[in-house]
Amino acid sequence: MIGFLARRLAAMAVTLLVICALTFAVFYLLPTDPAAQFCGKDCSADRIELVRQQLGLNDPLIVQFGRYVAGIFAGQTLGTGPYAVRCDFPCFGYSFQSAQPVWTLMMDRLPTSASLALGAAVLWLVLGLGVGVLSALRRGSWLDRTLMVGTIGIAALPVYFTAMILLYLVVTVGGLLPYPRYIAFTEDPGSWIANLILPWTTLALMYAAMYARMTRNSVIETMAEPYVRTARAKGLPERRVVGKHGLRPALTPVATMLGMDLGGLLAGALITESLFSLPGVGKLFADSLNKADQPVIMGITLLASFFIVSSNLVVDLVYAWIDPRARLA
């Protein structure tokens, strides 16, 4: 188990390094000049050259990359002489736009994105698993058919459409909720929930529809397994046959998918955050893209990769915990 963990952690580090290198290379190829970006409007050619020297942009790409990676772990000093700025661990550089450290920008917004992602995940799991299991156990009934047609319909709706409809019905017409704005959980838990209900619902509906369909297929497949028949042949009550012998294996692939989805969403739900003006990592990413704020874009890309790769590892560990056959790997 320790060997397994060590191998997986090493693989994880390599994956992140490769992603980091690729992102770095992509930005080097972009036509925008980081020095001009950093310098701002109405910058003379001399000043741009000075900035370029200060940022070390004249160094070979590999040296710049090495400095970037080293900075993440050990911090780095940007610039020289009177312009020198110490950027402490973990250093992802400074935003061209706001001159704030990228790390601070991301960490300020992470709670918002995490609130959105985790809350939505709870909602879509309850909905998706409930509908999926119910449909599978009542396979072929009118209930199953209605639910499955419904999930296709919901899955087909674009997020911005759902968001707009929800806002119109609940806020504009119904007046049931305020227009969402982010309030920290620590500040006022009640408002935190009230303001996040619509974003949660918007995000969760799409995922719930996918999870319901996947759960349904998985449960139908598992309930046809010979070991489920054995459980019945042992004389176990149906409740136990389904609950213990059927659902556990059926939900394993769902857990895998949840890990991946949640990993991606922790680093921001780009569209949903923008739609509801939630100051999350996704919104920050969208804004940075618009302004070619290279350090921020790189930082968020790495953060997202980190979450996805680590949630993958968590999924594998959970998998090994559930399914003894996976422990050999």
Binding site: P226, R229, T230, A233, K234, G235, L236, P324
Partner: protein, 329 residues
Amino acid sequence: MTGQPLLAVHDLSVHFATAEGTVHAVKGVDFTVEAGRTLGIVGESGSGKSVTSLAVMGLHRGATVTGSAKLHGRELIGAPEEEIRRLRGRTMAMVFQDALTALHPYFTIGDQIAEAYREHHGGSRKRARARAVDVLGDVGIPEPARRADEYPHQFSGGMRQRAMIALALSCEPDLIIADEPTTALDVTVQAQVLELLMKLQQDRGLGIVMITHDLGVIARVADEVLVMYGGSAAEQAPADTLFAAPRHPYTRGLLDSLPRLDAADGAALRSIPGTPPSLLTPPAGCAFHPRCPVYAAAGDPRCTGDRPALRQVADGHRSACVLDEVTTA
């Protein structure tokens, strides 16, 4: 209970509604099983032998079962599910073909056996586990206390099948239905497993229904044999009689197609030409007539008229061939 057979099946029929029409998987089968005796049911895939056993166990999901099956004189067909469930595993138990898929991959062998025991006998986990270790020892698994904590995938094929038998035995049933219990095993292991079943039968007075397509297995273990073809009984006789003097052309074809060591060098293996009949659109009359050499040689309108029923042809020997006088001449 004296004078009453352990299991008495009378005019048992099973049909499924499918999109293409009704499938008559079993059509009016009769047989009895006495305590301490073995009934072999032999037939090709699709002959209805497995469906018959599942119907007796009440595990025929989505099928309609008519007729009668009495266990200790108690009617099973049409009985409330809860009543059948209490008998399953406890009074009648089933051994399935492929223990790797029939045992649950997520739970240890010991847990799976203990679960069945606790369901029917209650008691502490400790006692159920002790019982599991005992039966594992009974079926000849070395170091049963250690192996009870292992998972099915850690067992060899033969040991897994023994564990499957241990599971069936754990609640001391009176009847064991074994559906192709040795088909997935090597020949040597196959012999060991059959010997084990016969020894357990002697020790405990078990009634056994042995379902197989393998006449070699039948010859080794069966007291009585029921040959099934296309969902109906073709021939029924004591095992010795059946092998010595088969009456139905299908049974003869099966026996002729066995490879023999005493056959002349270079003699080709014989097979029954054609394929088993479709259960959806079965041939009129005798289901075997399209493949029957006797019909081909001396066709008779009775072969394509009404579906022939079993008729007494000798003491304790019944055949469904209407051309019996031709075949025995």
